[in-house]
């Protein structure tokens, strides 16, 4: 088994007031280990310690106890940060910069050379559907647009570890779908993704493993398939079944089980339905203002 990309051991963090008196225990005895190519979800209600854990992992907060290793080093090591892409909980970008300037600044801090930088920026803006924003300043962007720029910033260095804090917050369903697709594509390329969210559907769609936090303590942890499996409960999916065959099947099952099972028609989830409607509307009426149709995954990320 390869070395973990990220590991925490018995991590603890208590927020204190001015007089160093404990105010809130945000994280308690958190032990995680993320393998390469894995999408790991941090779940929990508001105030459960998800964002604090991420800030500890990034070295923005100092743990009271425990140990964090990212790529085998301290998270405060600058070399480690070259391999991390981070999308904060709130995309507080510089409002007086335009999208390109904002990405250029981030790329410069990663030491990406100017030619490569411009190429990557073009690719990323295409990818997040903001290539048309031109000289518009970020201060004029909607929350969703700013979030997309935040995502582009998190990916500009082609990171090995991507940390996404509530990545779909403020995004429309199209954007949400795209973020999820990006996460899956990154994982397929062997990148590790740490995702924090309280939107369960998002986590369920993309994560391999999850950890549920409550009051800073891990309440459940493991592969999502195992955690969501309901014992002694099976599901049967059938397509194009005519009424006669359906009755025969029901009679057969009634004979076998001793009681008549209930049959219900399958339903699409709302996200799939929404995406279909918008795709059709796009075909009929063309692009609306705001974000445009997102492009493919940036070439340098493929």
């Amino acid at each position: 088994m390869s070395d973990p990309i990220l590991s925490t051991e018995d991590l603890g963090k208590t927020f204190r007031d001015f007089w160093r008196r404990p105010r809130a225990r945000a994280v308690d005895s958190l032990s995680l280990s993320l393998e390469p190519g894995e999408v790991y979800g941090l779940l929990g209600p508001n105030g459960s310690g998800k964002s604090t854990s991420i800030k500890l992992i990034l070295g923005l907060l100092h743990p009271d106890k425990g140990r964090i290793r990212v790529f085998g080093k301290s998270p405060r090591d600058v070399k480690v940060k070259h391999r991390i892409g981070y999308l904060p909980e709130e995309s507080n970008l510089y409002p007086y910069l335009d999208a390109r300037e904002s990405l250029r600044f981030t790329a410069a801090l990663f030491g990406i050379d100017p030619e490569e930088r411009e190429w990557r920026i073009t690719q990323l803006l295409e990818m997040v559907g903001l290539s048309h924003t031109g000289r518009r300043r970020i201060g004029e962007f909607s929350k969703g647009m700013a979030r997309r720029i935040g995502l582009a910033q998190a990916l500009i260095n082609d990171p090995d570890l991507v940390i996404l804090d509530e990545p779909t917050s403020g995004l429309d369903p199209l954007g949400t779908r795209q973020v999820k697709d990006i996460i899956r594509s990154l994982a397929e390329r062997g990148k590790t993704v740490l995702l924090s969210s309280h939107l369960l559907a998002d986590v369920e769609d993309v994560c391999d493993r999850i950890c549920i936090l409550y009051g800073g303590i891990v309440r459940a942890e493991g592969p999502i398939r195992e955690l969501l499996q309901v014992a002694n409960h099976l599901q049967l999916q059938l397509e194009d079944l005519d009424p006669e065959k359906r009755n025969q099947l029901l009679n057969l099952l009634e004979d076998m089980l001793g009681k008549r099972p209930q049959l219900e028609p399958s339903r699409k989830d709302l996200e799939t339905f929404f995406l279909e409607v918008v795709a059709k509307a796009r075909e009929d009426s063309g692009e609306a203002s705001g974000t445009r149709k997102e492009g493919e995954l940036a070439e340098f990320l493929v």
Partner: protein, 448 residues
């Protein structure tokens, strides 16, 4: 270096696009263009020069100082408040680079604005030259000079000697208190040391760091007893350590005023000498009074007014660099209002450093007697606090360089480079070190 450059360029752009900084830039432009037009000078080049240098440039400096204060204090604290710092520090960037990059951006902008202000001031002065004065007057006024002052006289010692002599003569009445006697004796000693009767002479001793070069002038400011249109004959001499005359000149003075006497040729090897004025009037009642303090001084042309103004601007930039360092460090540790307050306090203390220094040397802030013992204790406490502050403030006390420029006094190398490298640089290093160390240890994300 790439990260430093990125932070520098980014912060320059941020400051130029920030509304507060933009408002201050507009105010500065308005101040430089409109204020001199709205103020009336006295119609002379000297007046215009003082107005432009001390008022326009002085106010521009204050405005730039406030802009520096705001930009430096908000450089980090605003990013903490807006939660932008979390993102920046998740990038591969050392906090020291962030601190230094932003400080450099602040000081680059402030210095550029200050030098632009100096350029506008110079442009306006040169326009005033064309309007008001002859080329000869302009050549005199637009020339900065070194001022060489004689050694200070020990008036206390002279007063004591005077009291001793008077006591020996028996001319001191018993009912006169020692304090009052000393006050009178001091006034007498001062009068005697700055006045010369007919037939008498008065000496001033000069100790110079290096031999004199170039054209030298004696600048004497005086008054004379009585109202008389008659010329008062007198002679000036320069005597070396052995009392040998090295240069002499005769000069007639009338009324009160100022005379400039060229010393030519200058005794090139002299670093210690005595300047003597002899009142050649046969009448002892014809007394010449020199202004106490700077009644007699030597003046040596040093450089052009332009260079002098630029040197003063450079000196002010050094002070702004310190202000920016304090603002950055305070902003890295505290919220924006607190950081602004701390930095503004330094600015105010710097402006008051001369007053504090005087208060400490005089041992009291009170004029006259303390009304009661509590006031006296409070005064002692204040002086004690000033004494604690003085080691920090003394290096900041560079006087008023713009007033010096307006008076045509050369900003000496000692003041300029000494202040920049020996006073400001160590203080800057200290402030930067404390700021960066504490910032590096600071948690930048609070409980959300």
């Amino acid at each position: 270096m790439t990260a430093f450059k990125a932070i520098l360029i980014h912060h320059l752009r941020a400051m130029l696009r920030e509304k507060v900084a933009l408002c201050m830039l507009l105010l500065l432009a308005g101040l430089l263009m409109l204020l001199p037009s709205s103020l009336r000078d006295d119609g002379s080049l000297d007046g215009a020069l003082r107005l432009q240098t001390q008022y326009s440039m002085g106010l521009a400096t204050v405005l730039v100082a406030f802009m520096t204060l705001w930009c430096s204090a908000s450089a980090i604290s605003a990013d903490v408040a807006n939660k932008r710092l979390q993102h920046i520090l998740s990038l591969p960037l050392r906090r020291s680079i962030l601190w230094l990059g932003r400080w450099t951006a602040v000081i680059l902008l402030s210095s550029t604005l200050l030098f632009i202000s100096a350029g506008v001031t110079l442009f306006r002065i040169h326009r005033s030259v064309q309007r008001y004065s002859s080329q000869k007057e302009a050549a005199t006024l637009l020339r900065a000079r070194h001022l060489l002052f004689p050694e200070a006289r020990d008036y206390d010692q002279l007063a004591k000697e005077f009291i001793e002599i008077e006591r020996l003569k028996g001319s001191v009445p018993d009912e006169v208190s020692d304090e009052s006697l000393m006050q009178d004796a001091l006034a007498m000693a001062q009068a005697q040391s700055t006045s010369v009767r007919g037939g008498d002479s008065l000496d001033w001793n000069f100790q110079l760091e290096r031999p004199l070069r170039g054209i030298l002038h004696i600048e004497a400011t005086f008054d004379r007893s009585g109202i008389s249109a008659r010329q008062l004959p007198g002679s000036w001499q320069i005597l070396d350590e052995r009392g040998q005359e090295r240069w002499a000149s005769e000069e007639q003075v009338s009324g009160s005023g100022q005379v400039f006497i060229p010393v030519d040729p200058i005794p090139a090897d002299l670093t210690q000498f005595t300047l003597r004025y002899r009142n050649l009037s046969p009448d002892p009642a014809q007394v010449l009074f020199f202004q106490p303090g700077n009644g007699v001084r030597l003046v040596q042309p040093a450089g052009s007014f332009t260079w002098n103004l630029l040197r003063a601007t450079l000196l002010l930039c050094g002070l702004l660099a310190l202000l920016a360092a304090l603002g950055m460090s305070a902003g890295a540790l505290f919220s924006l209002p607190v950081a602004c307050y701390v930095t503004a306090m330094l600015l105010l203390l710097e402006l008051a450093s001369g007053t504090l220094e005087r208060a400490v040397s005089e041992g009291s802030t009170l004029v006259g007697d303390a009304p009661n013992q509590w006031v006296e204790r409070l005064d002692q406490l204040t002086i004690g606090t000033y004494k604690l502050l003085l080691p920090i403030l003394q290096p900041l006390n560079i006087g008023n360089p713009l007033a010096q420029v307006a008076e045509g006094i050369w900003i000496s190398n000692r003041l300029l480079w000494g202040s920049l490298f020996l006073r400001f640089t160590p203080l800057f290093c200290l402030l930067a070190l404390i700021g960066i160390l504490l910032f590096s240890r600071r948690e930048v994300a609070s409980q959300s």
